[in-house]
């Protein structure tokens, strides 16, 4: 992907999410300081940085997951297309419908595979069995899981392997037909083979979706992302096209991190 898209066409892509001067607090602790970042439509933006740098905190602010954390507070604005998701009229239910999320550990519901995939459409009011069947098949195909589960749709999702469970969680997010998919270290709990399947899948998802992914693996960021933002101590130190960040970082701290001098 990186080789296929020269830097100038990357820059020409439309803006999907633009965070402007975002601060995130947990109580009195400021976890994110004045972060501004533009995430381009139908591209993969990777958020990298050492543990505790705030990259997951930043990601969770993009679909208002901090609303669920007592004591957490977000300031600044996050524009989805032209609207601020922290604006007075913005509704978290609608936002999370448009911006899906895949978590660090696979968290399928203790329900059947089928019920997991159609959960999103169901709670948003789709009740037609045939429509749900179609959505389930389409989402599982997009998540490259269909062939493995089509004969056992009504078995428990908990009987799947970790890698399959994570792809099921991606299918569950895709089933809502979101515009953006946020992924919080989606492969960190998986073995190398399952990881490579998830990475292949992310490459295909950008045909339709904008992807923002947190990863602790620089190799993974280099393999799958178009843009990379480097976080350190709650600030975005540097952001740019991935190949540039990894070959010619402008900041000393970025270079130190990607060459393994700290982390």
């Amino acid at each position: 992907m990186i080789d296929a898209s020269p830097t100038d066409t990357l820059a020409a892509a439309a803006d999907k999410i633009v965070a402007k001067d975002m601060d995130v607090f947990y109580g009195s602790f400021q976890a994110i300081k004045h972060a501004s970042l533009t995430m381009k439509a139908q591209h993969v933006t990777a958020l990298i940085g050492p543990s505790g740098c705030g990259k997951s905190t930043f990601l969770r602010a993009l679909n208002r997951m901090h609303d669920l954390t007592p004591g957490a507070r977000v300031e600044g604005c996050v524009m989805l297309d032209d609207e601020d998701i922290y604006g007075p009229d913005a509704d978290p239910v609608v936002i999370r419908h448009r911006i899906g999320m895949v978590f660090q550990r696979p968290n399928p519901f203790p329900k059947t595979i089928y019920e997991n995939v159609v959960y999103g459409p169901r709670i948003h009011g789709e009740h037609s069995r045939s429509a749900l069947d179609g959505i389930a098949e389409h989402a599982l195909k997009q998540a490259a899981l269909w062939d493995e589960v089509k004969d056992r749709m009504h078995r428990s999702a908990l009987d799947l392997s970790g890698g399959q469970q994570q792809r099921l969680c991606i299918a569950r997010a895709v089933a809502l037909n979101p515009e953006v998919i946020l992924m919080d270290e989606p492969a960190s709990a998986l073995d190398p083979i399952a990881t490579s399947k998830i990475e292949d899948l992310i490459g295909q998802l950008t045909d339709a979706y904008t992807v923002v992914i947190v990863t602790h693996s620089m190799q993974q960021a280099a393999r799958i992302s178009d843009f990379t933002a480097f976080f350190h101590l709650g600030e975005i130190v540097e952001v740019g096209p991935t190949n540039q960040i990894f070959t010619h970082p402008k900041e000393k701290r970025t270079e130190d991190y990607i060459t393994g001098r700290f982390g």
């Binding site: 999370r96 978590f103 203790p110 959960y119 999103g120 709670i123 009504h154 428990s156």
Partner: protein, 306 residues
């Protein structure tokens, strides 16, 4: 300053004196712990065997389905079994909705703070009230103040107050066993709080919840002190299987106490031992069915057997 490390002397791999002593301590500890654990099984088995030995001759159709007698031999316990179930079901009908709703509120909605602490503290205080005191409370309120006399309803309401804290705790623990990652998954898909609770949290907790409810049902079934003062010590002679909740309703457990301490029938031992055995069988059945029902519901809601 350079560290000097001496080459260790040659040693044997066979046990030394100190190793042998530690191994003996280990073996003794294992044996003691095994005996303690096994004693539970032995006590249960001895208890059941003795109860069966005492009570099995009393078991007959006329005893289980018959009506008790006031002064002569040959009385049965049919109405008492009926009343036990009647009060049990009535109590669960009152307790379950309150306890589950309160548990969901405390666990899923209430933010840490004064109100939550007050509710939690009240429940814990209520849990420490002895059942006989609760029975006196029921006597004062339902029997005297409301002028109901001894009724199944008064007994059930008293047992509701008595068992509410335990069922609240069961609910809270069942909800606590549902990992937050599932709530996050549902909210992350745009679910509302209520959708998350009804479609993910409660179905995931239903197995534990049911197991807890059935175990408490066993306790309600065996309760005496609170019922002596509220549901009474007799059954209505002409209507032994009354469905009116205002009927006097002696339960099996109360009947067991009554025959042994107050009754003047000549076959006290037969009735007492037989009642005890029936009561024991019922409570054991509750415990077994708690597991079966809990497992079945978990499988139904989660598609998984464990």
């Amino acid at each position: 300053m350079a560290m000097t490390t001496a080459v260790p002397p040659r040693r044997s791999v066979s046990a030394t004196e100190s190793v042998r002593a530690r191994k003996i301590a280990d073996a003794v500890a294992t044996a003691v712990l095994w005996v303690m654990a096994s004693s539970i099984v032995v006590m249960l088995a001895a208890f059941i065997i003795y109860m069966v030995y005492l009570g099995w001759h009393a078991l007959s159709l006329s005893f289980i389905f018959g009506v008790p007698k006031e002064t002569t031999a040959g009385g049965g316990i049919g109405p008492e079994i009926y009343n036990s179930f009647y009060i049990l079901i009535l109590t669960l009908l009152f307790t379950t909705p309150i306890a589950v709703a309160a548990g969901v509120f405390l666990q899923e909605y209430a933010k840490p703070g004064l109100f939550r602490n007050i509710v939690q503290f009240s429940a814990e205080s209520l849990a420490t009230v002895p059942s006989v005191v609760m029975g006196l409370f029921g006597l004062l309120v339902f029997v005297y103040t409301f002028h109901w006399g001894y009724t199944a309803l008064g007994g059930a309401l008293t047992l509701t107050v008595l068992n509410l804290p335990a069922l609240l705790r069961v609910t809270q623990e069942a909800l606590l066993s549902v990992p937050d990652s599932l709530r996050e998954a549902s909210m992350g898909l745009g679910g509302t709080k209520w959708q998350t609770i009804t479609r993910v949290v409660l179905p995931s907790a239903i197995g534990r919840l049911t197991t807890g409810i059935v175990l408490i049902a066993g306790r309600i079934y065996g309760e005496t002190a609170a019922l002596i003062f509220t549901a009474g010590l007799s059954v209505t002679g002409n209507h032994p299987y009354d469905i009116n909740p205002f009927h006097t309703a002696e339960t099996l457990a109360v009947h067991l106490w009554y025959t042994h301490s107050e009754s003047i029938v000549p076959d006290v031992d037969r009735i007492g031992n037989g009642s005890a055995l029936v009561l024991l069988i019922m409570v054991l059945l509750f415990n077994v069915s708690a597991r079966i029902v809990g497992r079945a519901l978990t499988k139904h809601f989660t598609g998984r057997s464990s």
